[in-house]
Symmetry: C2
């Protein structure tokens, strides 16, 4: 009863072998062709004798090989850790260690990073070419168990230590189903994936492709002109994007618009600015704003275009299999209209953080997951988000947790206190600014260098400002929002 489903790759290859699965640059693969490649790779990987208790980390770009690897790892049944290749070797090593991964599969482009990781931690590392030279060992899993962990993606929180979010096969399955019940599913559907596969926004497109039987158009790197061209061609019906991408696309779109086939711009990664929404409306671009997170295996709340005008600022309503509830500090469900913490429930919600008993205890209550975000429901049940959790900064769709940057700054000998907050930015939505208290005047240049060694570059503060005292409230809690007053 719903505990297993057919191995989704093999089922798709059986049901619709000739439909297009993947388009990348000038190449395309049918589901049959993709499955042939994936199974061959799975047979190679299988010779490593890994099982469901093993974990494999993947450090790869948005390329076809990455799609094959992800499906092949599902075929051999291991858990896959999705590594963000914008992170530093030391950040990546933490995630690899924490997840207990025994193997890392990487793009040759990242050889240097992998060498640094290997100098810090002992792990088997292979490129796709190396894997393909392994001996082959056949296997066929006819079914996937919905409650087995499929993927692990790291996300930070108030403590600054990234936590591995466990996503099951069931999480991905139900996320795809919930999305199709909301957005519909058409014979001509094709999804443009210009967001990173290592984020749930990208990974979830790959899963939908196989579950729905629709092609993914994969972009190695987001390119606003190429994206516009695709959306004008009629080949693409749905695209996942964040506001920064949409802004860049609009900036070069001039007075044109998209093909009538294009029916959904799924806009996530933080609230969309009103001028952006208005421009899309004027150009007839159907924007579906969405609220989701790694822990909900992509969207959990979505606002459809027909509601976007009368509900400006709302994130929408939940997808069909999921529920939202706004609760008080004591966990009581609040009536519509009252502000509180947003909690969510549904089969797309993570089963928990890997090896984080305390965080799991804090985050789950009777099957409800506390997002940490604040908001309210209006009288019709539309969700409005007041504030993202933990002073989260969303920059170009990437989550940045102030606490993580502050922790790095505090590692520096000269820094006594550190506070980080997001500052509005016309391109990225927000960028992080750091404020430090130090015993003597420090070299800002040296501080930047210090950060760059330890943080992915998108997390490095755009400015580091020395001040005399951090703003704190009565209980000595850092008031990050008040840091903005110290900007010249």
């Amino acid at each position: 009863m719903g505990e297993t489903i057919p191995n989704w790759l093999l089922q798709r290859a059986y049901l619709t072998p000739n439909r297009t699965a993947l388009v990348f640059e000038n190449q395309s693969w049918s589901f049959y062709q993709m499955t042939e490649i994936v199974m061959d790779m799975a047979f190679s990987l299988h010779s490593l004798e890994l099982s469901q208790s093993n974990t494999v980390a993947v450090l790869m770009k948005n390329r076809p090989e990455t799609v094959w690897v992800i499906h092949a790892l599902q075929q051999i049944g291991v858990k896959t850790v999705f590594l963000n290749h914008r992170l530093t070797a030391s950040e990546l090593t933490f995630q690899i260690k924490d997840s207990g991964a025994e193997v890392i599969i990487y793009d040759g482009d990242f050889l240097q990073t992998v060498e640094k990781i290997l100098s810090l931690y002992k792990i088997q590392a292979f490129t796709v070419d190396e894997i393909n030279r392994f001996d082959k060992k056949e296997l066929t899993e006819t079914e996937f168990s919905l409650d087995r962990v499929c993927s692990i993606m790291y996300t930070s929180g108030t403590t600054g230590k990234p936590k591995g979010v466990m996503q099951t096969y069931g999480n991905h399955w139900w996320s795809a189903i919930g999305s199709s019940l909301n957005l519909g599913l058409q014979a001509n559907d094709a999804w443009l994936c210009a967001v990173p596969i290592f984020h749930i926004s990208g990974m979830s497109i790959l899963m939908r492709s196989v579950i729905y039987g629709i092609p993914v158009y994969l972009m190695e790197q987001f390119d606003e002109k190429k994206a516009n061209t695709l959306l004008q061609s009629g080949k693409i019906t749905i695209m996942s994007a964040v506001s920064a991408m949409m802004n860049r696309m609009l900036a070069v779109l001039e007075d044109k618009t998209y093909h009538a086939n294009f029916r959904c711009m799924l806009l996530g990664g933080g609230p969309a600015p009103r001028p952006l929404l208005e421009e899309c409306l004027n150009k007839g671009i159907p924007v579906f704003q969405t609220y989701g997170m790694t822990e909900t295996s992509s969207q959990i709340v979505t606002l459809s275009p027909e509601d976007s005008l009368k509900k400006i600022g709302s994130a929408g309503k939940p997808i069909f299999p999921s529920q939202i509830k706004v609760v008080s500090n004591s966990g009581q469900s609040l009536p519509n209209g009252e502000f509180g913490e947003i909690t969510v429930k549904g089969p797309n919600v993570t089963i928990g953080y890997l090896n984080r008993e305390k965080a799991n205890e804090e985050s789950f209550q009777d099957g409800w997951f506390s997002t940490g975000d604040l908001g309210h429901l209006d009288e019709e049940g539309f969700l409005y988000i007041l504030d993202r959790r933990s002073d989260l900064i969303i920059s170009g769709g990437e989550n940045i947790y102030p606490a993580e940057i502050e922790e790095v700054l505090l590692e520096h000998d000269g820094v006594v206190e550190a506070g980080v907050t997001g500052v509005d930015d016309p391109i990225w939505g927000q960028v992080p600014y750091a404020f430090i208290v130090s015993k003597q005047v420090l070299s800002v240049e040296e501080l930047f260098h210090f950060c760059h060694e330890r943080l992915a570059s998108y997390k490095v503060p755009k400015q580091i400002i020395q001040i005399n005292e951090l703003p704190r409230n009565g209980s000595n809690k850092l008031m990050r929002r008040n840091l903005i007053q110290y900007i010249d």
Copy 2:
């Protein structure tokens, strides 16, 4: 994890209150309006203090009140027995007794039948009007448990004793999901329900409506002219039908065809004759042939129009969450191309027959359900059905089991042996013919009368033919197929 989903009626009323839920004759109801009516009725029913262990039988026509009753019974969480109003009071009484139903809800039209039932069996009986006059008692179930029994529908088998098929909330949910992954789901979708709600073909349309958020156009009685008009109007995108209905529609369609919006004629209830398929092809009517049964909560295998030409005679491939396997007599999985019994697996497959331990033991093996039908898979995995189980006769979409008719004939004092088989019929597909061996010549008229008292009229043999000996094989098994030679 997938064990509960939001109460689907309330979730739909919350997510899309203003979309149309039901259209009947000149009236229509939004999901909000329908939910108001249903909840009011649920509050009335709740005052009966029924719980999940209780069972309520429903004897109603295809009318809006029936839709309200079915949803209201789901709200109070009881199991619903769907009674076929074409059956006789004695057939119905068997099902009511067997299911242990404590209450029957009926249309006033069936008062006479209900009075007969009440003379045979003690049960509480109410019309909808009576229920609406009950005191109200509020309740709200926020979630449905997927493994709870939602509905019970009776079907016969080789033994002739009808068995109650238990369909869970999960069965209906996954059936709807599997169908949408196959047929897609569009914003303008609307499903014409001209098949009986008491059959899974009709009931499943009601469930899809709420899960998808699309309107049901309900017909009290199938009318080929009205159906054609609707399909020409552009309002309907999908219709469920059996060949007999499709034939009648084509007969009055003349040289016209349907609106371009009409995208799927889901044709079930037995194999479709080739001339019918060819005529549909010529007229551009998109026929999806489908194979399913009460036990699979509607379709489990479907053939799409693009395959219908090259795979004439095939039932198609399974819906995404389900699997099919052809097995030998010893239960071994057979390679493609070889004939055997068709077994199916999937979250839409019944959890079993009510109180039929032996039948359940025989029908289920490692999660696979034996359909009793024979067939094979071709090299691409398309299913071909050679023979329906137990010499099943499908007449105008209704299943008729020879054994059930034979049992009735044998109750007659003069009948020594009886055999029933299906004979091709231009209108109904097949009709039952009976062959009897008797001590002396019997009055055929009296035998017809005898049958009419005990059997729904569609089950009464079209001819009753007296012969000297029934055809039997070496092990004395009745060879029903060989009866045809005795027709003059």
